[in-house]
């Protein structure tokens, strides 16, 4: 059995310690908000928050890598980190999601960014948000991050 701390609770799973966290979250713990997109750490759809500080792709984390860590998924994000709730409100205010499949990972990545840098510049957003959104919501994500961080500057975008 492997013990994991997920969204504030300790759970035991019987999977092999080499199993990627993503599949345990989805198929064993029913935390389906975290998505599979590439299985190779390239797209960020599976991003979760580790130890309330780092955004990491859960498809690249083996269970044995995270046994001592606090794992926060989209389902527990707002309760665990105050800024995540602000981001979720900003995401609604800016009407960010289209298909929505990437957005759990986007919000997890944005949460880690605002923890590290509460008032990020555009350059910091570019560096921190490397997730793929196939619907192309990047301009709205940028605005939503600025809105949540209180750094929203009105400049032309989507307002013609």
């Amino acid at each position: 059995m492997v013990e994991l701390k997920v969204n504030g609770a300790t759970v035991s799973v019987a999977d092999d310690p080499s199993t990627p966290l993503l599949w345990v979250l989805r198929d064993r713990l029913n935390l389906t908000g975290t998505k599979y997109g590439c299985g190779a750490g390239l797209c960020g759809a599976c991003t979760v928050l580790i130890d309330k500080t780092r955004a990491e792709p859960s498809c690249q984390l083996r269970l044995e890598d995270v046994t001592g860590s606090e794992i926060t998924t989209i389902e527990g994000l707002a309760a665990a980190v105050g800024v995540a709730a602000l981001l979720q409100q900003a995401w609604i205010a800016e009407q960010v999601p289209q298909c929505g499949y990437c957005q759990s990972g986007m919000i997890a990545a944005a949460t880690a960014l605002l923890i590290a840098s509460p008032h990020p510049s555009d350059g910091e957003i570019d560096d921190a948000i490397t997730n793929i959104c196939r619907c192309g919501t990047y301009p709205r994500i940028r605005r939503a991050i600025h809105r949540a961080a209180g750094t929203l500057v009105e400049k032309g975008a989507s307002n013609g």
């Binding site: 998505k35 979720q88 960010v96 957005q103 570019d126 793929i132 192309g136 990047y138 709205r140 013609g160």
Partner: protein, 750 residues
């Protein structure tokens, strides 16, 4: 006989053909029983939501459920359709929920996709027959940017008819005349007495009344919902992880399956040794199917691991397989040979004009492209007795019906949210796999979810194309004649050969040249022809389909002509469009919005423009780029103007423009599916990369205020970006790129 369009017929497949013949055989009597309006109430049943018509149900608490027979792919269609109902039903949008109906009633069929006419235009006898035939075929589908066009009038009528029933029920309750009550925010109000009753309390009585025709719809000046920004109903669930896609459907006892296919498109499976795979933990079943092997396990990871242990001998004819290089060479040869091809447009005398005048010619090329929806192909299926129940973000329930039929069962179709569509989810392959695998473990739900590598390699793809364009230049430096020959691979043929019992398309597929054969430019002599190059590569509908190729060809070529004429590229286009009021207005609006002052003078910075009409809408774009000596491109600004007729939810029109532009930007910069030895060499996002946050500038959007009936919105923003970017690059560097993507020429995002 009503004209049935290429895409409509295609999507219907076997069901289409069968039902059409049935309809004709039983004739008028049968057809007249098919309800294509769906405006009658259903007698209420205890404690059930009350169905006031096929579109509108009223719940006990007064909330309203709208049946939307279109897949929410991210385009915001569920909210847009709810807005149409809300406008006439007089209920706040936030009290509406939207669901894709499970029961495929004829009223839900997509008549616009099938008949290429707006419902309000379908007034003749042929239309009467056509609508009922398409209804009988249950041709429910989301595609071709048609959903708003299809529902703009019918859903407002459904709202008005339901409101009228509620008004009459309320008036009876209050003992006044129906004309004396008003519907206000989900209640029927008697203004004189001040009495009011909510829709939840009145619905059962309303459902016992007969509709009295269709009340006249509100004039545009009285609209309170349509044309105003509305927050999307599906967004709250998409920011907290609670939105359910097909891959999130978790019925008790769910099993997970992976499927393995031959790597080559023309490959076969000669033999399978299942032993090692079956011995892996969690494996429930290994099933050899025609040309695929399915592995069913308790978790996704177990299924993936076990699939790796399959020992499969792939067969084939032993010859080297096709390559994309060879295919493009064949297309190049095709545009240069003397065969005329299939002629779509022939006006004036192109050859005489070309012989007379100074002429200019150029050849353009585009690659195969993948959709790469972020949610790969997925479906859940349960074999429950004689029925297969499906859950999938499919763009149509029809492939579910076909997949069930293939295993001798009926289908129950649950269309879920989709993690991106772009045309990819009109295909049946994953549903067929799900049906077969579910049928092998009756009673157990099975999820088939493709790996990224499978999704990228199996296709289908946007076809590659080569186009040779020649223009005769008149005395005023304007084109007097245009001859365009396109060699590509027919999407209609690809789709029909995979999904239908017979194949249609080929050179005659008008998708080969859509956007070119119907060119808006005023050129007196035009000849447009297409040639089909047959290959084993599967091709399919990709956001904006043929337009994604033809806009690049035409709008690059026009830009070249303007440059040779030493004319401003936007003014040059405006001269060619002067007889078209809508496009002229679009150009003027774009010029103002972008503060157009010419393409720039090179030296690493430039602006490009492109205009393109598609899906009954018109889009113009201006792209600004800065290009370094190392060929790093920074896209600094994108301005887009759309005339889509009446916009329903303007902020979502903007969202679709933004998304369509980013979709094209990835493709134009780096999109290229490469085929070697009969198989795709790309495998994941490292070698089929996407534009990221850092690559995408603010996108400024302008919606032209219009009361014209709506045009499409999901697709028209994609085509112009390709040429606008290439034209900007030319302005910045003087390098004319005629072959997509730009990465082929050493360019990359800064």
């Amino acid at each position: 006989m009503a004209r049935i369009s290429r895409r409509g017929l295609l999507i219907g497949g076997a069901i289409t053909a069968g039902a059409a013949m049935t309809g004709l055989a039983v004739g008028f009597g049968y057809l007249s029983t098919i309800d294509v309006e769906g405006l009658r109430p259903v007698p209420p049943q205890d404690d059930q939501p009350v169905r006031l018509n096929a579109w509108i149900e009223v719940l006990k608490d007064g909330r309203v459920r709208v049946a939307a027979p279109h897949t929410e792919l991210g385009q915001g269609i569920h909210t847009g359709l709810a807005m149409l109902v809300a406008e006439e039903l007089e209920i706040p949008l936030e009290r509406i929920t939207v669901e894709h109906p499970v029961k495929p009633l004829p009223v839900y069929a997509n008549f616009v996709l099938a008949l290429e006419k707006r419902p309000e235009e379908m007034t003749g006898a042929f239309d009467w027959v056509g609508r009922r035939l398409i209804g009988a075929m249950q041709l429910i589908a989301t595609g071709g940017s048609t959903a708003t066009i299809r529902n703009y009038v019918p859903l407002r009528q459904a709202g008005a008819v339901a409101r009228n029933l509620l008004e009459r029920a309320g008036a009876a309750e209050f003992g006044v005349k129906p004309s004396e009550v008003k519907a206000v925010a989900g209640e029927i109000v008697d203004p004189r007495s001040g009495r009011r009753l909510g829709y939840g309390a009145l619905a059962a009585a309303a459902a016992l009344l007969e509709p009295q025709g269709i009340p006249s719809l509100k004039p545009r000046t009285q609209w309170a919902v349509i044309g105003r920004d509305a927050p999307r109903l599906d967004i709250p669930a998409k920011v907290d992880g609670s939105a359910r896609f097909a891959v999130d459907h978790r019925p008790a006892g769910l099993l997970h399956a992976m499927v393995v296919r031959p790597p080559r498109f023309d490959g076969t499976i000669e033999s399978v040794d299942k032993t090692a795979a079956e011995a892996m933990p969690g494996v429930v079943k290994v099933l050899a199917m025609d040309n695929e092997v399915g592995v069913i396990a308790e978790t996704s990871w177990q299924a993936m691991q076990a699939a790796e242990r399959l020992a499969i001998r792939f067969g084939g004819d032993g010859k080297p397989g096709i390559s994309s290089t060879e295919i493009l060479a064949a297309m190049r040869a095709a545009v240069n040979d003397r065969q005329p091809g299939h002629v779509f447009s022939d006006r004036g005398d192109v050859d005489i004009a070309l012989a007379d005048d100074a002429s200019f010619e150029a050849t353009y090329e585009t690659p195969y492209l993948a959709h790469a929806t972020l949610e790969p192909q997925s479906a859940v299926a349960i074999a429950d007795g004689e029925t297969i129940k499906f859950w999938s973000g499919a763009q149509s329930p029809m492939p579910m019906m076909q997949a069930a039929r293939a295993v001798g069962r009926a289908a129950e179709t649950h269309v879920t949210l989709a993690g991106g569509g772009f045309g990819r989810r009109i295909e049946g392959a994953v549903l067929q796999q799900a049906a077969r695998l579910a049928a092998s473990v009756p009673g157990r739900p099975v999820m088939v979810a493709w790996r990224r590598e499978d999704d990228l390699r199996w296709g289908p793809f946007r076809p590659a194309a080569v186009a040779r364009l020649r223009a005769a230049i008149g005395p005023n430096a304007m084109p007097r004649a245009l001859k365009a020959v396109v060699a590509t691979q027919s999407v209609a043929l690809g789709y029909s050969s995979r999904n239908m019992p017979f194949a249609i398309g080929g050179a005659r597929d008008k998708g080969n040249v859509e956007g070119l054969a119907d060119l808006a430019y005023d050129i007196p002599n035009i000849l447009v022809a297409a040639k089909h190059v047959d290959t084993p590569v599967p091709v399919g509908f990709w956001r904006s389909v043929g337009h994604s190729n033809t806009a690049f060809f035409v709008e690059s070529f026009i830009d070249e002509l303007a440059h040779r004429a030493k004319r401003d590229p936007l003014r040059y286009r405006m001269d060619l469009l002067s007889k078209d009021a809508r496009l002229s207005h679009l150009c003027r609006t774009l010029s103002e919005a972008a503060q157009w002052s010419g393409p720039g003078s090179g030296s690493g910075r430039g602006r490009g423009v492109a205009i393109h009409a598609s899906f009954r809408s018109y889009v113009g774009q201006v792209v600004d780029v800065a290009v370094s000596a190392e060929k790093a491109i920074k896209v600094e600004r994108i301005v887009a103007v759309i005339d889509c007729g009446q916009a329903i939810n303007p902020q979502q029109v903007r969202a679709q423009l933004e998304g369509a532009i980013v979709f094209a930007l990835s493709a134009a910069m780096m999109g290229e599916i490469t085929i070697e030895n009969g198989a795709v060499t790309n495998s994941n996002f490292h070698d089929y990369p996407m534009a990221l946050m850092k690559d995408v500038p603010a996108i400024e959007t302008v919606i032209i205020d219009s009361a014209e009936p709506p045009g499409g919105v999901g697709e028209p923003g994609t085509p112009p970006l390709f040429p606008a970017l290439a034209n900007a690059l030319f302005a910045a560097t003087a390098e004319r790129v005629r072959t997509m993507p730009l990465s082929r020429h050493g360019y990359r995002f800064a």
